[in-house]
């Protein structure tokens, strides 16, 4: 009997020891399940976050864009600007996840990153709820609200940035959504949750002529002096490129001011795919932008597939070219900032409750062109607003430089574009305005850009 007792004791003890080992494997199993996506969301994660006072999101002057206020079972999020800043701030829902800065800056907002480690440890020991860091944006809440108001009822986007620093002053997308109830918009056919300023992939149309013009000024200075006869259409290998008018004989300046497709199609062909694509790449088209929110990198036909008709189309911003409104603003910013594109950014810095803080400094993203080419383009862009297609963007007492675009697309009327900067002599703001299917850039987008510039320079 004694041996049987001993044997049973071993069996039971080994069984209990096996449970100890098994216990240590549970995290591996849970990790496997959650990765496979079969898992039910763990309510602990949301509950833990609710206990932490998430940091506030403030504009450049300290105005509140998002904050946490005490509520039952922790804290509740408030968005004083509502839909106006919804695409920047995003949302944060236990059920539908998070978006915008609420998502990308979550670790900082929750105090998991960037806060004082000592204070976090103290809170943990005393069981006090953690406190997140407040984030300060480069955005100007007033300008942001104004841009959102101008966009109301339209589909499109506005981006305003400081070309000398890359600070984003406003970034609006329309239609907007209520950040407190994102679920209501998930199935909306107008896609209000889409951040058109960063994720909208639009054919740029004539605003792309800034790039083609930069290439001509840099590589074909002789051609810039020539006169081209515009007959209203250009045929390349049997493919016909249509112009917006019959411009007759135009020189480089007239071609840019009047946005002559025939002349720019021919510039593109004269540059050749290699030189043209070099300039396109210098402007960062197709290059991913390191930004606080996800940005579509843009598209351009690669060199190997760039035949004559595609090259001519691409030179006027059609063909397969796609850009975002943010990138469009960077094109204008490059001209304004002597050829250098500054790294765009939204988050100026953050501040922990324990006094820790961090501030971001402007950085160069890439050089798009030489200062001389930028200076020449600036004159051309001033002329566009003074006497060309962008006259509706002119402001009394301020020199505005710009370029319009009316991008053909498969979805109906042209997308209306305007990119520009002001004051042209000492640029403080660069803007891009895009209105989906609104017709011509000069009549639809330029007036809106003018109001934004007026407000931004106040």
């Amino acid at each position: 009997m004694r041996n049987n007792v001993r044997r049973l004791a071993y069996i039971l003890l080994v069984g209990l020891a096996a449970v100890c080992v098994y216990l240590a494997l549970i995290p591996v199993y849970i990790n496997h399940i959650t990765k496979s996506g079969a898992a039910l969301a763990d309510p602990r994660i949301a509950a833990g976050e609710n206990r932490i006072q998430r940091g506030a999101i403030l504009d450049r002057h300290g105005a509140v864009l998002a904050r946490s206020v005490p509520a039952e079972n922790g804290y509740q999020r408030e968005y004083p600007l509502g839909g106006a800043a919804a695409h920047i701030v995003g949302y944060y829902s236990n059920k539908y996840g998070a978006a915008g800065l609420e998502k990308s800056m979550a670790r900082v907002l929750l105090g998991l990153e960037g806060g004082s480690k000592i204070i976090n440890l103290r809170n943990r020991i005393l069981g006090r709820p953690g406190v997140g860091n407040d984030i300060t944006l480069t955005v100007d809440a007033g300008l942001q609200q104004y841009a959102a108001k101008l966009l109301a009822g339209k589909k499109g986007a506005v981006v305003v940035l400081d070309p000398a620093t890359g600070e984003v002053l406003a970034l609006a997308s329309s239609p907007a959504f209520d950040p407190l109830q994102p679920a209501k918009y998930i199935d909306d056919a107008e896609a209000p949750l889409l951040n058109r300023a960063l994720q909208g992939a639009y054919p740029p149309g004539s605003i792309f002529k800034i790039i083609t013009a930069a290439a001509v000024l840099a590589d074909l200075p002789g051609m810039a002096g020539d006169t081209i006869k515009c007959t209203g259409k250009l045929t390349v290998n049997g493919f016909t490129l249509h112009d917006n008018a019959v411009h007759g004989p135009v020189d480089f300046g007239e071609a840019f001011t009047k946005s002559c497709n025939v002349a720019f199609g021919r510039y593109g062909l004269a540059l050749g795919a290699g030189e043209f694509l070099k300039q396109v790449t210098a402007f960062g088209i197709g290059k991913s932008i390191d930004f606080e929110l996800p940005v579509y990198a843009g598209n351009i036909t690669p060199a190997g597939e760039m035949d004559g008709p595609t090259l001519a189309s691409s030179a006027i911003g059609q063909g397969e070219v796609l850009v975002t409104p943010l990138h469009a603003a960077l094109l204008a910013g490059a001209v304004a900032n002597d050829g250098v594109i500054m790294q765009p950014y939204l988050v100026a810095g953050y501040r922990g409750r324990g006094g820790s803080s961090s501030r971001r400094h402007p950085e160069e993203w890439r050089r798009a062109m030489t200062p001389a080419v930028a200076a020449a383009l600036r004159e051309q862009m001033i002329n566009v607003v003074r006497q060309g297609t962008g006259r509706a963007a002119a402001l009394p007492g301020v020199t505005v430089a710009g370029k319009t675009g009316s991008a053909e697309n498969p979805h109906g009327k042209s997308h209306a574009w305007f990119v520009g900067f002001a004051p042209a002599e000492e640029p403080r703001v660069a803007v891009a305005v895009l209105l989906e299917n609104a017709g011509s850039g000069g009549s639809a987008a330029a007036p809106l850009a003018r109001e934004i510039i007026r407000k931004a320079l106040q």
């Binding site: 001993r6 004791a9 449970v19 098994y22 549970i26 005393l126």
Partner: protein
Amino acid sequence: MHGRGKERKLLLITFLYTLTGGAALYLRAPGPGGLWAVAAATVIFCGFMLLSVVWQRRGTGYDLYITPLISFLTGTGVIFLFRLNPAYGYRQLAWAIIGMAALYMTTTLLSSYHSLADYKYLFALAGIVALLLPIFFGIELGGAKSWLDLGLFHFQPSEFVKLLLVFFLAGYLVENRVLWRAAGGKEYSLPGLQEWGPLLGMWLTALLLLVFQKDLGTALIYFGTFLAMVYMATARLRYIISGAVLFLAGAAAAYLSVGHVRTRVAIWMNPWATAEGSGYQIIQSLYAIDAGGIFGSGLGAGFPEFIPAVHTDFIFAAICEETGLLGGIGILVVFMLLVYRGFKIALIKRDEYSVLMAAGFTALLGLQVFIIIAGVTKLLPMTGITLPFISYGGSSLVANFILAGMLLNISCEVDGA
């Protein structure tokens, strides 16, 4: 005169542990709940110290490790119940005091337990009556119809019938062992009622529990304890295998005919398919254990309230969440030490009745710990039983204190008495 200084030293260490827990609760959320947790740790400590002093005066030679181990488990349970819901804590503290009294009574009244062997059939009869009562007069709590409503509290007879089962089997097996062995030696012999009677009786009892009380876990413990004791008494593999086959047949029949058994198995196979329904509880339990990591979130800093029935069946998951893998393994190690001590007590005895009874009680305890912890960790289907000494529940706590009292009795009884 036996010195019990070591016992008191271990009790003091246990007290420091539970006192720290109570203090942590108080510091985190100053209020009566935390103060009561400190008081509860102190009361349990004082109770066991008192027992230790009384035993020292009487000069009894009880095992020195049993009371520190169960005071650790009971203290941990009470602290966690105060943390989960002070209302449970108060009641559990009251039950712990009653439990200590029951332990003292057991050591006083049942110290000459050998005479109990004469009443084994009475125990069997009492046990069966106690199991039948809830079927006719019982109420259903937490899915099992194994409770009697006694007005002031709910009483679960099956917790005490566990003890009667061991009393009965120890007496019965020791008396009939020789006969069994002889019968097993003959080849081609038709098995007689004497041999197969108890097996069938146990099997029917287990099925009774399973079908009428919907108490899968208790049925499993009863039958497991029965097989373990038969194994220790006879080592007859044929008998054990027959038992296991009978059990499996019963389980298969139950699976096919009893709805809640099928549900339990389905949850065990894939809780994620019914993650928001019947699988929710085990998933929350796994999440809790996962969230605990190695060191745990800290007492009071986790979210055990997301687990339904966390204070009874799932309290181990709450302990893992807040004290981590180390805390969970710590509890398991304490149970292993208790099981080790129990078998040790069995093995120092010379008379087979004592050996079998001590080993039977220990196997019962070890099986119960294994089944419930395997259940809350999805190693086995969840069967809904208490974690001894820790889970909320008066019947379970008092029954386990009596069990511990019996182990103490056996540990000191003079051999051959």
